[in-house]
């Protein structure tokens, strides 16, 4: 059975729970003023730089790519999980050892491909830690 049918397109938390890597990162979703926001709690295993300390750049990338992907599924009602083609991450600030949040946006939806972006922040949504843009193939 297809993941999206099983998890339910309208329930991002069911989708996140059904994806092993997202469950391992303890990702969860909430809807705030109509916007879909992903939350990732801090865990010591996420550290990339123990001196600062800071989250691993790959953790930041994982949260951002997931936010863009879940937003794409949520908005388009995609029947299969969209496949990433290319992604770019700008690291704007050091990601501290605290909880992180991300929101995805569709920049443009075509027939075959979606251009998406996402932003990640920690305590202050006005101070983004990293931004993401990428393309996903539909179908």
């Amino acid at each position: 059975m297809e993941l999206l049918t099983r998890a339910g397109k309208a329930d991002p938390n069911a989708l996140l729970a059904a994806v092993p890597y997202c469950a391992w990162l303890s990702l969860s979703a909430r809807i705030e003023e109509g916007a879909l926001i992903l939350d990732m709690p801090f865990d010591p295993k996420l550290i990339g730089n123990p001196v600062l300390p800071a989250l691993h750049g790959g953790v930041v990338g994982s949260l951002l790519e997931t936010a863009a992907l879940v937003q794409t599924i949520w908005e388009t009602g995609a029947a299969t999980v969209p496949r990433p083609v290319d992604i770019t991450i700008d690291y704007l600030r050091s990601a501290r050892a605290v909880a992180s949040h991300a929101r995805g946006f569709i920049v443009r939806q075509g027939r075959r491909v979606v251009a998406a972006r996402a932003e990640m922040w920690q305590d202050d949504a006005a101070k983004p830690v990293a931004s993401f843009r990428g393309h996903f193939l539909l179908g």
Binding site: E2, V19, L55, I89
Partner: protein
């Protein structure tokens, strides 16, 4: 930059890092899967491995230790990773400038000429001592 808690949590091992070139191996594990219907690992896992391999390639090319922070990372996903198969990441530092370093990374399962993903990453360097690094490569 040495091994990280996150790479260890993913189960990755550092195979070699010297003179601006590096190699990481990641055995397949079920918790890395991003699409349970296909068994393909999550793109974020590749992001983490490529980021780390590129950063460590920079570290291995530096003449004096410096803090290395990712500035920008682009990944092209060339084809899906085969499920239940190890991933190998190779990286190279192309150039170390005064404050910035430029790298490439390759993720593959058979040969580097048949990549799963290719990364281009740039890093900011923060030197611990004031004299500037000598240029290399």
């Amino acid at each position: 930059m040495g091994n990280t808690a996150f790479l260890q949590a993913l189960g990755g091992t550092l195979e070699s890092f010297a003179d601006g070139h590096g190699r990481i191996r990641l055995p397949f594990q079920p918790f890395l899967v991003g699409n349970p219907d296909t068994g393909v690992i999550h793109g974020g896992v590749l992001t983490a491995l490529l980021d780390q391999a590129c950063g460590m390639a920079v570290g291995s090319a530096l003449r004096a230790p410096a803090m290395i922070a990712t500035l920008d990372l682009r990944i092209d996903y060339m084809k899906p990773a085969q499920p239940e198969t190890d991933l190998i990441i190779e990286s190279e530092c192309l150039k170390i400038a005064h404050e910035v370093a430029f790298t490439r990374g390759y993720a593959f399962q058979t040969t580097r000429e048949d990549p799963v993903a290719i990364a281009t990453a740039t890093f900011m360097l923060t030197h611990f001592d004031t004299p500037p690094q000598m240029e290399r490569r």
